[in-house]
């Protein structure tokens, strides 16, 4: 028997809903005043990109827990809250709106789509946005993008390093002339990011660039790889995420393209991408964003002992040390170190606001000694940011899947500033002109 709602109950319900929402908002804001540094964690543990999002989120959260076992950031306890975005922009925006009111320190969205949307919002809300290894490549220019921090590298760096590596393989960048390089990319802003740099490099070094877009989420790649087979490129660069990566490798197997000639970006080179292909993926190469799989690193051992050992681990202990776990770990480390640096200026042992933390990220100076002390020896190289350079470092290596694990197969490369710097400046200028914002003044750099 249906119970129809009358006008009164309907109105009362709506009013009650609105009231409860405002109260909960107020309560949340009040709770955040306590002496805690709040880190929102935008993660995706469901959906088509979950296999890669889960280890990253586990690494991030584990590091925050680890910091607490060491007494927090100079005594300030670290709190965090996860919010499921499912890699969708509107859910990411909703999570951002909900969590920013809790005195959020910094946001890391792990999605280029959400990054674009949040880039518009963070200048007004004065919360920094770290996009370590993804996001807009031009946001490395800190004079225009005051609140964006693509720490450790952008996609233009990644593409540049790959071309350098290919040049090295051929015996010199000049030997690349006349070769064919195919880019199989996720048809989204994420996948399209490297194209401008690859086109520049193609003009400079004389190789032919073939662009093969794959519709998201990337399960349908049969025709892409038939085209690869037809055009017979010398190398295939894979710019995918989530299920697109393993599908690409499987299709490469199915069309007989040698995996040794495939090079993935640093988001296309982790265990979930190759695990179920196993031996057939042997020889597949990918970029390592400074670190690879690091089961022997000191920080890994510390976390296994102090976090997992006490039953506080997020996720399985076998995951600790895997590529994406380390990625999340490093991202969290950078977030915390920025706050520590901000405390050096604004008051040790105090809770940092978003603006203060932003100064910290802009003045990061992590040398090898500090990194070793944190347990990141051999995992990360020194990183130092400045007002104009929000990237801080541009180092990467190549690692290869042996059938059982990832092994480093190259030296360190540094992305070539010669090509990238003017491109970054030009793109940042274009953004500033569109948005009608001025470049920051040197005085502003001191704030």
């Amino acid at each position: 028997m249906k119970k129809p709602m009358n006008t009164f109950t309907m109105a009362a319900t709506l009013a009650g809903l609105a009231l409860s929402m405002s109260l909960s908002g107020a309560a949340a804001a009040a709770a955040a005043d306590a002496k805690e540094q709040f880190f929102p964690v935008l993660s995706y543990r469901t959906g088509a990109y979950a296999p890669n999002g889960i280890p990253f989120a586990n690494g991030y959260v584990d590091y925050l827990k680890y910091v607490n076992t060491k007494g927090g950031i100079n005594g300030v306890k670290v709190t965090y809250e996860e919010c499921e975005t499912g890699y969708a922009t509107d859910k990411g925006v909703e999570c951002y709106e909900r969590l920013k009111g809790k005195n959020a320190t910094v946001f890391q969205s792990l999605s280029t789509g959400i990054t674009f949307a949040l880039t518009e919002k963070v200048p007004n809300d004065k919360i920094p946005l770290i996009t370590a290894g993804y996001g807009r490549s031009e946001s490395a220019d800190g004079m225009v993008f005051k609140w964006n921090f693509p720490l450790t590298g952008t996609y233009w760096d990644a593409a540049d390093v790959l071309i350098q590596h290919l040049g090295k393989k051929e015996g010199g960048l000049d030997k690349l002339a006349g070769k064919k390089v195919a880019l199989v990319y996720h048809d989204s802003p994420f996948g399209k990011e490297p194209i401008p740099l690859l086109q520049e490099r193609s003009k400079l070094n004389g190789f032919e660039l073939i662009l093969l877009p794959v519709a998201p989420p990337g399960v349908e790649q049969k025709s892409t790889w038939l085209q690869v087979r037809q055009s017979r490129p010398d190398y295939v660069l894979l710019w995918g995420w989530g299920v697109m990566n393993s599908t690409a490798i499987k299709e490469a197997v199915a069309t007989g393209y040698p995996r040794e000639k495939m090079y993935g970006v640093w988001w296309a080179g982790a265990e979930p991408d190759v695990k179920d292909v196993g031996d057939a993926a042997k020889g597949y190469n990918a970029l390592a964003l400074q670190h690879g799989a690091e089961p022997d690193a000191k920080i890994v051992k510390d976390i296994l002992r102090d976090v997992h050992g006490k039953g506080q681990g997020t996720g399985a202990p076998e995951e600790v040390g895997q590529v994406l776990y380390m990625r999340g770990l490093s991202a969290a480390m950078l977030a915390v170190e920025g706050v520590k640096r901000a405390q050096e200026r604004f008051g040790k042992g105090k809770v940092m606001t978003g603006e203060q933390a932003r100064w910290g990220y802009e003045n990061l100076a992590l040398d090898q000694k500090k990194l070793d002390a944190l347990g990141f020896a051999g995992v990360m190289r020194p990183i130092s940011t400045s007002c104009a350079d929000h990237r801080g470092a541009g180092w990467a290596r190549v690692h290869t899947w042996s059938g059982k694990k990832w092994e480093f197969t190259s030296d360190w490369y540094e992305a070539s500033e010669m090509i990238i710097k003017p491109m970054v400046k030009a793109a940042a200028d274009k953004y500033a002109a569109e948005k009608k914002i001025e470049r920051r003044s040197p005085q502003d750099c001191q704030s």
Partner: protein, 321 residues
């Protein structure tokens, strides 16, 4: 035939044949999913949008059971694990079918088509969430021994040979066997005849004593079995994870091209869509920048519909005023 890929200059004809064969075979794979749609629509008039979620759910069940059963019973034999997992997944799908009939369809009898469609969309969300909750959200492996390496035919005629994907070839054989099996089931068994009667006219069938709700459970179970087979094949190809339910979106143009009420239509429609998609992507795609196969299938189906609004083999829509 040879198993070593050769990279000499290929003639365009060879590449065309390669794409054609690849398209035909991927079309068969779409038909596998489309069969589920057609079966349910024929028997109960419901357009089951949840078919994709059923493919995902059954594949997840199969993948995880194949992992867990050796642990529970303590043996290592992969073949036995796969067989037991298959039976287990099939039983799960039958239970799902029974629950859907009892809780959803039984209460929505005589509602408009769009209501039933929306109900199946609700079931889709439910199965997506429940499957991931029960079985997990990572990529899982189904290993039924499908060959992964390609074979190359006619290397003496075309340099480089014609690439044929062995896994797709195996899938084609399985699909053919499935269609033949279903055809025999419908023609020669009592239940099959009852299903055909219900598909023809619900009320007449009910008036001669065919129990409608039991028939619907059987239909949904058969559709579940088809979904499981499709799930195993696609899962073996791509790995079992959430995007598998999006394969159903590819089966939609197949179903409307072939006609919602026709099993041969699902097959022919699948072949046409598969070929059209691959050929367009490979030969027309580069001119337009690539990535066109997603909409090409639908536009192709649309053009066929403009000529025959009920699909190639569907029942003619007759309106009486």
């Amino acid at each position: 035939m040879s198993f070593v890929p050769t990279w000499e200059r290929q003639t365009d004809m060879g590449f065309f044949l390669e794409t054609l064969i690849g398209g035909l075979m991927s079309g068969i794979l779409y038909s596998l999913v489309a069969l589920g749609f057609v079966l349910i629509y024929k028997a109960s008039g419901v357009f089951n949008f949840a078919q994709g979620a059923m493919v995902l759910f059954s594949a997840l069940a199969m993948a995880r059971l194949a992992e867990w059963i050796p642990h529970w019973f303590g043996f290592q034999n992969l073949v036995l694990a796969n067989i037991l997992a298959f039976i287990g997944a099939l039983m799960i799908m039958v239970v799902v079918a029974w629950l859907i009939e009892k809780l959803v369809l039984g209460r929505l009898v005589n509602q408009e088509g769009i209501t039933l469609l929306m109900a199946t969309l609700g079931i889709t969300y439910f199965l997506d969430g429940f499957g991931q909750l029960l079985f997990g959200a990572e990529i899982y492996k189904i290993d039924v021994g499908m060959p992964k390496e390609p074979i190359f035919l006619l290397e003496h005629m075309f340099q480089g040979g014609i690439l044929v994907n062995q896994e797709d070839l195996a899938a084609t054989v399985v699909a053919a066997a499935l269609v033949a099996g279903l055809a025999m089931f419908f023609q020669y068994t009592v239940t099959g005849r009852a299903l055909r009667a219900v598909a023809d006219d619900h009320q007449a069938a009910q008036s001669i004593g065919i129990p409608l709700d039991r028939i619907w459970v059987i239909v949904w179970s058969v559709a579940g079995f088809v979904a499981l087979v499709a799930g195993v094949i696609w899962g073996s190809k791509l790995g079992v994870q959430f995007s598998l339910s999006l394969i159903a979106l590819k089966a939609l143009p197949v179903v409307i091209l072939g006609g919602l009420t026709s099993v041969p239509g699902a097959i022919i429609g699948g072949l046409l869509i598969g070929v059209g998609e691959k050929l367009s992507e490979v030969f027309i795609g580069p001119m337009l920048g690539g990535g066109i196969e997603i909409w090409f299938a639908y536009v192709l189906a649309l053009f066929f519909l403009l000529i025959r609004p009920q699909g190639l083999f569907g029942e003619k829509i007759i309106d009486r005023v």
